[in-house]
């Protein structure tokens, strides 16, 4: 499906309107939950790491630990899991409903390729918007960690910022953005496939929605492991 979607993307009609609509639904629509996810994740990381580091007299590196965990792992994975829950389920439910109400058949009968019209815009939107949402989670998470570290853990603002700034390498940032691109493709393909293979009426729509979210989540976590290993070996 991924290959078919990409191969048909470069011929007319281009469906720019659908692409923009999907980018808006994925990106702008998910902004609130990603902001909350990022903010609280950064805060929790600071809350958990600072007391442990204190026992070693190393609270000065709290910023480093928070930022590394956040950018490498927590923000890409959690932002993608939240996107799978919110967007993946919506895609599977929408396409599933279109299948059971014969709208996809009607689309084909009217000469439209459903892969191009329905799958490609969602795939492209998730491919581009998941890294963007991860970046938002990174920024808000860093701010959340800073707030907790300085206000609740009484770590000096200068120490925290300096430690956080020195923590990140180029590879961390690149890896932190490559991962959500892969996760975005996983969410799009799994959800579109589940939706377009729906059968059995409204019960089938529910089944497809659950399948889309569960399978996306598992594949995201599995892909995260392999990408991380790949980055450690080759980066």
């Amino acid at each position: 499906m991924t290959g078919r979607a990409f191969s048909r993307a470069f011929s007319k009609p281009y469906y720019f309107r659908e692409i923009i609509t999907q980018m808006d639904a994925v990106g702008v629509g998910s902004l609130m939950i990603i902001t909350l996810t990022g903010g609280f994740t950064g805060g929790i990381l600071a809350l958990n790491t600072a007391p442990t580091l204190k026992t070693f007299g190393a609270t000065g590196v709290t910023g480093q630990l928070v930022m590394t965990s956040l950018v490498r792992e927590m923000a890409p994975v959690l932002a993608s899991l939240m996107t799978a829950g919110r967007v993946g389920s919506a895609i599977a439910a929408e396409l599933g409903s279109m299948v059971v109400s014969e709208q996809v058949d009607a689309m084909r009968a009217l000469g439209t390729d459903p892969i191009k019209k329905l799958v490609w815009p969602r795939l492209l939107a998730l491919l581009l918007m998941t890294p963007a949402l991860t970046l938002v989670a990174d920024i808000v998470g860093a701010f959340g960690g800073y707030l907790v570290a300085t206000s609740l853990m009484h770590i000096s603002s200068t120490v925290y910022i300096s430690s956080a700034k020195n923590a990140l390498t180029y590879n961390d940032i690149v890896g932190g953005l490559v991962k959500p691109m892969v996760f975005g493709v996983i969410i799009a393909i799994v959800s579109c496939r589940a939706g377009l293979r729906t059968y059995g009426g409204t019960v089938g729509v529910g089944r497809s929605t659950t399948q889309a979210v569960v399978l996306s989540d598992i594949l995201i976590l599995a892909a995260d492991f392999f990408i991380q290993k790949f980055l450690q070996v080759f980066a």
């Binding site: 709208q103 058949d105 009607a106 084909r108 009217l110 000469g111």
Partner: protein, 271 residues
């Protein structure tokens, strides 16, 4: 070289099965240009499958399907999209796109072809006038009644002047007045526009009206519906009846009334 068929649609020994379940078993029939073929039979006998096969939405295991002379069984999805430009399909519940307005639904095919919007606007209004729903232009499908959705579905199927229309039980579950309106639209297409069609139904009222009435233009230029009489006999409407995936009857309404097949007699007991 194989001779090119002059028929609008031709099924040659078509067999279609889902897993082990045979839906159509060695089915052959012809729809001639300008003819309406009424496909009858109980639920699950393969009536809607015939329409999906014509559109190439599914492929048969065996046999040939000729649409306007082309054997479409071996066609790719891309080739099939060219064939589908000649076909209009009216789905059972309309199958309108929920997220689009009536205007966008009816004009969908033209938008896809890249036609300028003023021309689409004009064509959509003309089609909506044909189905008496011009006032629904800006409405969403959720605002329409069941009958209105079917009529918008007919308008969508007719846009672009397809040579062939497929009706999938368009009157099922509708009140008698709305059902009659839809049947009259089908008769207008058959008798005034010369459109070939396959009309899938198991409603006796549909069968009776389509086989005994016709549309004509009166002296004032208005469309009028008249019944068959001694002077006029409909020859552009024929029937096939399916039972367990096989055609058990094929012919005119007169031949149908004379059939001694037990299933046909049972089907028309109340006719």
């Amino acid at each position: 070289m194989m001779e090119r068929s002059n028929s609008a649609i031709e099924f040659q020994n078509v067999t279609m099965a889902y897993d082990e379940r045979v839906i159509l078993d060695d089915v052959s029939f012809v729809v001639n240009p300008g003819e309406t073929k009424i496909v009858m039979g109980g639920s699950g006998t393969g009536k809607s499958t015939i329409l999906k096969l014509v559109l190439g939405l599914i492929k048969p295991q065996e046999g040939r399907i000729l649409v306007d002379g082309d054997d479409t069984v071996t066609f790719s999805e891309h080739d099939m999209s060219q064939v589908r430009q000649k076909i209009g399909m009216v789905f059972q519940d309309g199958a309108l796109f929920d997220s689009l307005t009536v205007y966008e639904n009816v004009g969908y095919r033209l938008f896809e072809q890249g036609m300028p919007e003023p021309e689409i606007d004009e064509a959509v209004r003309r089609m909506l006038r044909f189905v008496n729903l011009e006032h629904t232009f800006d409405m969403m499908p959720s605002e329409l009644s069941g009958g209105m959705r079917r009529r918008v579905g007919i308008a969508r199927a007719l846009i672009g002047n397809p040579k062939l229309i497929l009706f999938d039980e368009p009157t099922a579950g509708l009140d008698p007045i709305t059902a009659r309106t839809i049947l009259e639209l089908a008769m207008k297409l058959r008798d005034l526009e010369g459109v070939s069609s396959i009309f899938v139904t198991h409603r006796l009222e549909d069968i009776k009206l389509l086989s005994s009435s016709y549309a004509t233009i009166n002296e004032d230029g208005e469309v009028e519906f008249k019944g068959e009489d001694n002077r006029f006999c409909l020859v552009n409407t024929k029937f096939i009846m399916l039972k367990e995936g096989k055609i058990i009857f094929s012919g005119t309404d007169e031949e149908l009334s004379l059939s001694d097949h037990p299933y046909v007699r049972d089907f028309f007991r109340e006719f």
